[in-house]
Symmetry: C2
Subunit: 455 residues, 2 copies
């Protein structure tokens, strides 16, 4: 692997730190169309569901244990739990839980998971300050625009170099969102971005460990603190993002500044956010999608003789595990994914529980799945043929899986995903009320009622 | 400026994360000679004096303001102030103040300022846990060894790329030191280093702003939290420092692993720590040193006609300001530095106060200083000639300035530097007691008595 990074420093970058600060501090409240406004609510709901779903994960327990050693003031909620901690550590822990299942949102152009850093910081701060729902939605849209635009600027070289781009750009997004929420002026917002620029969080070598979800949490915390510092008059370089020794040039070898300045305030990156329907790597999503579609057409484990898949080579390369032994291994098995798709009509986190992966009917079903590589099949596609015991064949071709930009999850899909994670912890009544509160967030006077439902 | 960074990823790096973890967790208490032990006390004393000296700086006020918004528990002291905050934020603020005057220690080989991240984390944690002085000194020596060895491994390319190496390696040093203090085992210590590796703090573009001293503070806080997380079972990559997508390879293009493994446990990097006698850039130190020596030989502003300096070209390039208007500009004036050297026999932070820089006798004296570039003069040297009004000439040649490894500050020099910063805040009696407590730290049962003297 050769990393070709011979570059000239760019001394003539436009003042993007200042440009972003002005945008964040002065863009009108709800200065976008209904689609953006709706997408913001979908982003927030999906993030909150993921955070609640992983609230009892051992990563959350460990992080909370460390934080409790600091004897934090009970300023803000940890979603899905009864404990309360100071706002900076609520941002940390909710950021960790929201990414723990690898089930959160994806800005596909940069593979940033934008909600974790931004929403986790915004909600913790807003709960404590009593900010309105309108202010919260504004902060989330603008914060995500900042992190994704900076991501567009430096991707893919930044990611290829080894940065977990969610955490490295997330600090800037969280700082921007919190600056907006605190009502900082342009100067102060520039300082908040500057302080945040010095704190990129996240190495890709951490994938597979708890430190991966730590990245959005750490970014949320660092961004929130950066905004608080800026409010107090703390100073930073006003060119901290674009200077030759600033964030972009230090952490990448590509910096397309037009990605920050182009159509700023007109095009919003949250429009390109997507949500995962299945709690596993995106490469198996077409195959699971096909299995769910076959189930809807009457295919059952009982009447199925064999399920034949024609897939892109990456599918078997990354997820070719035939006999997964536990939940984590199940995530790397296209066979398990199809089995639960056929059996349950979904592949949410609960279908990756250890006892599901080893359950007799699941094992029997996955052994009926065969996958072969077909070079004519696109990475986003699959061709599936169910051969039934009665000799009939049912074919399904997926060009773009559910959850992609081309076939986004419906609001109903997102609610079902949320409920699947929330019901076991909060019960159905509370979960339903929480979903309603999410859809109505922009008109809520504060977070008080919503937060009361989260534990 | 061309950054040549075309490199092959190194997939065969030795397991240095594990090696460092084993070293930190198992090296015997006081497993070094008397010189190392003494240098540790000098490092701690110098750091504490700097932190006290800047305790009332506006950067400290701003940082404390932000932290107070979190309603922190009063777990640990902010040196030089009465407020107490939680240990993570005490580490942050003491880390900021210790570097605010640019007057702290320097590991010349890497230009890391090692004490800020490490000591600020250790003292905050130790105060709260009641650790003994012995444990504290052990943690400081080992933590500084980790950050400086990692620094040696990646310097200078890491620094040239734009990282403020004090903060980027400081997180690892602070994590190591806190892991030691908490008594973590080898596995947990490796995880602490791993979590810390994902949180490098510091861009060089911040120089000249409050975010520069934020870097050691942020590193102290992040390292401390990493150790607390590891104690709770939080996981990270066990190869987070050396992997192709780990800290060293992501943030540098040079990685000489032997700098980590060579003579580990025998050679200690704290032995190469130095302390600044003058509160300004190292490049003017020889000239100020010469002025102080001339003063000792009887040269006074009254009997001086002219002071002629022959200097390296960098001196005028970086510090050639002839008529500085305030304290900050004074730091970039070799003329002002020599004037206060002649007048006061020192150039501590108080000689860079605005009203000193503009004081009539200081202005008159600096106008008697002439500096010319001489290509035969080394960067570390100066040739100074005082021409007196009676016609006599007195010459001083400095090969290595006071404060260099070749001519280290004496313990007495360090005490005087400390007192100069501490006396105005704590008074002479308390300052004297604090100096004694520093020298005796290793035998103190806890930090209690020392901390009680710091405000």
């Amino acid at each position: 692997m050769a990393i070709n990074t011979k570059v000239e420093a760019d001394h003539n970058a436009p003042p993007v730190t200042r440009i972003l600060a002005e945008f964040v501090a002065t863009h009108p409240s709800r200065g976008w169309n209904d689609e953006i406004e709706h997408e913001a609510h979908r982003t927030i709901m999906n993030w909150l569901g993921c955070a609640i779903g992983a609230a009892r994960h051992e990563a959350a327990d460990a992080a909370l244990g460390a934080v409790q050693f600091l004897q934090p003031a009970p300023q803000a909620a940890i979603f899905g739990r009864h404990e309360r901690v100071d706002i900076s550590n609520a941002a940390l822990i909710n950021g960790i839980t929201s990414h723990t299942f690898d089930f959160d949102d994806t800005h596909l152009k940069t593979i940033i998971h934008p909600a974790g850093p931004v929403c986790s910081a915004v909600f913790a701060l807003a709960e404590h300050t009593g900010a309105s729902g309108r202010q919260i939605v504004d902060a989330v849209v603008l914060g995500i625009d900042v992190s994704c635009r900076v991501g567009n600027t430096i991707y893919p070289q930044h990611y290829d170099r080894g940065w977990h781009i969610t955490g490295s750009t997330g600090t800037l997004g969280a700082a921007a969102a919190c600056a907006r929420l605190l009502g900082l002026d342009v100067e102060q917002t520039a300082m908040a971005l500057g302080i945040a620029a010095s704190q990129p969080v996240g190495l890709r070598d951490q994938f597979g460990t708890m430190t991966k979800p730590f990245h959005p949490g750490g970014a949320a915390k660092a961004g929130l603190m950066s905004a608080l510092l800026a409010r107090e008059g703390f100073t930073a370089s006003p060119r901290a993002i674009e200077a030759p020794r600033g964030f972009a040039q230090v952490t990448s070898t590509k910096y397309d500044w037009n990605e920050i300045t182009g159509e700023l305030g007109q095009r919003f990156e949250i429009a390109y956010n997507t949500y995962k329907p299945f709690a596993c790597g995106i490469v198996i999503h077409p195959s699971i999608d096909a299995s769910v579609q076959l189930r809807k057409q009457g295919v059952t484990p009982d009447n199925l003789e064999q399920l034949k898949l024609r897939v892109h080579s990456l599918v078997l390369e990354l997820t070719g595990k035939k006999e997964p032994a536990d939940g984590l291994q199940g995530k790397f098995s296209v066979y398990h994914g199809c089995a639960v798709g056929l059996l349950f009509g979904r592949a949410s986190e609960s279908e990756y529980a250890d006892d599901i992966v080893t359950r007799e009917d699941v094992v029997a079903t996955r052994r009926k799945v065969q996958a072969v590589v077909d070079d004519t099949i696109d990475e986003a596609a699959v061709h599936a043929t169910a051969i039934l015991k009665d000799g009939r064949q049912i074919q399904v071709t997926v060009e773009h899986a559910i959850g992609s930009l081309q076939r986004p999850m419906t609001d109903q899909d997102l609610e079902a995903k949320f409920s699947n994670m929330s019901n076991p912890l909060l019960g159905e009544t509370r979960t339903r009320a929480l979903l309603d509160a999410c859809w109505k967030l922009a008109s809520a006077p504060s977070l008080k009622a919503l937060v009361a439902l989260t534990h």
